[in-house]
Symmetry: C2
Subunit: 453 residues, 2 copies
């Protein structure tokens, strides 16, 4: 599977959705990938130059831009299902925080991020934005699997797994931004946890540090009504207003969740060109509320889609997230026309790319763009018949309908199998680590073989 930069791949046949805004795909002729770029997109077959390279028959498939999962905590796959159906405080204090403080280390992040990257690749995600700790390991894992990612080092005003004292976050973040490789696949960034776990001083210092390295700054913002009340109590302003007052908003800031917003805050997000990430399934599962997605889109806010971490979703299937986003918007707005299939696909591709400041390279299939694309196998009973492929992508498809995935010109999934890592070895290592965590937390774990139980 290794390809030199001059390696060519030729895709033929099938259907192609070059731009997510289109309501219908077109019949596909020939697309040529050269190195990590799209050289020619959807040429008529008789006009295609004779190109040397691997020819991939896309019959029965839709070729479309790879999906962008604009928010997750990938390493937390190791804690997936460790505790569910619990109120947030018990979930955090009895399970997640103890597990994290005792088990999150370099190997945890390396392994968990690899597992999540494999899961995302298999379900059509080509780019993701990650926020956690020991992020050099997250970058390594991402490169091993071959995905594209914005890798954001977590910052909190409390001790974290990789910053033993609150005062040490700045050194840790500086170290990360300086040492993490920046290449075509990896873009380093910073992630302030939230306005309630990061002081205004921390936010301002992180913003300055990010600017110095031309990096994005992320934060969870206005996720719960508890948070809004807390920030109002502490600072006399709602969360978005509070960040505005501290000069944090802007095109280089990504506000994740944005569930509880005043009308003025929606305007502020729009005017400041702040990127927003909507995580509907996490917001539903944790009973956080319904983000006002339609209000934001109508104000020209770029709203991307995210799965949130696999411990609070509990999977990384962006097709499912697209469907949930659309269904939730229709329900919340009492309008079956709200958040159409077409719009939700834009959120999962082009808007995601824009929020991550990558829309000059990814998010649509145009000659010159980076070659991040996926093939959806349309020849499935639940996608038959196919009056409207765009509708199917949102309302009928699943992550498991993804056949092939190309990132940066290289296939990382072929025929539904990941090609870059040994999946069996990976799962085996994850189970071994999970067994130790389960013993420590005094909970049962199920292996997948009777001898494992």
């Amino acid at each position: 599977m290794e390809q030199s930069t001059s390696h060519q791949t030729i895709l033929t046949n099938g259907l192609i959705l070059t731009h997510p805004g289109l309501s219908q795909p077109e019949p596909h002729g020939v697309t040529i990938i050269s190195g990590n770029r799209l050289e020619q997109v959807n040429l008529p077959k008789d006009q295609a130059p004779g190109a040397a390279g691997e020819v991939v028959d896309c019959s029965n498939c839709l070729i479309m831009p790879g999906l962008v999962n604009a928010h997750t905590h990938a390493a937390m796959s190791i804690l997936r299902g460790v505790a569910d159906d619990l109120p947030l405080d018990r979930w955090l204090n009895q399970y997640i925080f103890p597990s994290e403080s005792r088990h999150v280390a370099r190997d945890f992040v390396r392994l968990g991020t690899t597992l999540s990257a494999v899961e995302m690749a298999l379900s059509g995600v080509t780019t993701f934005a990650d926020g956690y700790f020991f992020m050099e390991q997250a970058a390594e894992a991402t490169l091993e699997v071959g995905l594209r990612a914005v890798i954001a080092q977590g910052i909190l005003d409390v001790p974290t797994p990789d910053a033993a004292t609150p005062a040490s976050w700045r050194g840790r973040a500086e170290e990360f931004l300086s040492s993490c490789s920046r290449d075509s696949l990896i873009t380093p960034a910073l992630f302030c946890h939230s306005p309630y776990l990061c002081s205004p001083e921390t936010f301002r210092a992180a913003k300055e540090l990010a600017a110095k390295h031309d990096a994005l700054l992320f934060s969870h913002v206005a996720e719960t009504s508890w948070e809004v009340a807390q920030i109002q109590r502490s600072y006399g302003a709602r969360p978005v207003e509070h960040l505005e007052q501290n000069g944090i908003l802007g095109q280089d800031f990504v506000a994740v969740h944005c569930v509880h917003l005043s009308g003025r805050e929606k305007d502020v997000l729009s005017n400041s060109r702040t990127g927003v990430v909507h995580c509907p399934e996490s917001n539903m599962k944790l009973a956080s509320g319904t983000a006002p997605v339609m209000d934001l889109l109508s104000r020209d806010v770029r709203v991307a889609l995210g799965t949130d971490g696999p411990a609070s979703n509990n999977n990384l299937d962006l097709f499912e997230e697209m469907r949930s986003a659309s269904f939730l918007a229709k329900l919340a707005n009492n309008d079956p026309e709200a958040l159409s299939a077409c719009t939700v696909i834009q959120m999962a591709t082009g808007h995601g790319a824009a929020v991550l400041r990558m829309n000059d390279r990814i998010g649509s299939l145009e000659a010159g763009n980076l070659a991040d694309l996926i093939l959806i196998d349309l020849d499935r009973p639940h996608l038959t018949p196919a009056y409207d492929v765009v509708s199917h992508l949102t309302y009928s498809a699943r992550g498991s309908d993804v056949r092939d995935v190309m990132v940066n010109g290289k296939f990382v999934v072929r025929q539904g199998k990941v090609t870059t890592v040994d999946e069996e070895e990976l799962k085996s290592k994850v189970r071994e680590m999970a067994r130790k965590i389960a013993v420590d937390l005094n909970i049962r774990t199920h292996g997948v073989c009777t001898t494992d139980v």
Copy 2:
């Protein structure tokens, strides 16, 4: 794959969830299926009698009761995606009703039901409740695929595809109940569309006819606020009250949707032991509202899960429906503990069986029960690690994780492939019919090959 009634199948290894109410599966030893019954369930390996028959290794899998999809209109798969993101009146009047009146005939129902039964089998549904027209054909399709179903003949006070005049519904229903084979797999029933499309006289006559044949009567009830207002205008009572006043409620009645209920109506459903079917994704997609599931469950109402028809969902994946039911309940109740994984699995198995009056035969894995069971392949990245398999079933799994499906002692799916019908031939026939409908409705259709477009 044909089996005589004395044929034995022996399942070994893996994990087993014998009863959906259990919070944890057990290690699985040996389960023996004889004919269409579970003869022995989860014997310790050293106590298993020497049985002659096919041995199926279930290592890496969870064995659990088959899922019950308690509400669909299976034949409508032919119209899947024909029109989405539209207000209900345009969807119905411009697309669905014209398509139905011109194309719904015996071959449409036979083909569409076969396609849906295949889709349901592949995603772990072993029993479904169907309501549509030409239901003899639906029964034939179900038998061909090898699923179990309650097949309910549709009744409306307007002309339907198989009752040219409103007056002729009774003859049609009588004909169906008399002629449709009743066997272990097929249970005939009646389906009055709704209180707004069936008069009180029609409901009462249908109830009487159903009782005469010991058949269930279904209806859509209180799906939209429009319906509630309409019924109040017409009859001075809300929909459930209206049906109560006409003597329709009871254990032999199934009320589908029940989105808009007063407190008294919830009590009435409980006191009358009426079965309820919750279809969260359809209710969200059509912006109908949020059914008060927690209120009903707390009143001991049996609430089953349904996908609704594939034209308003747009798939038949009950795993997705389980997840959406739980997420929606958590959001609506502002409570992350609402509708736990365990409860939602009960809804999708045991409650479904109870609402369909089959819980003496299916819905749990007990010796003597009919052998309806599914094997979930747990050896997937998105199901790894497995601290809590029950949580995974609701929050992480997809229909495509189903490996094998047994209905009535016979495998209808093995290794993710349907064994009873030729899937390629089926899809080809469906596409041919869809192309004709698309031409007639003047809409585009996408085949799956470029030559098809």
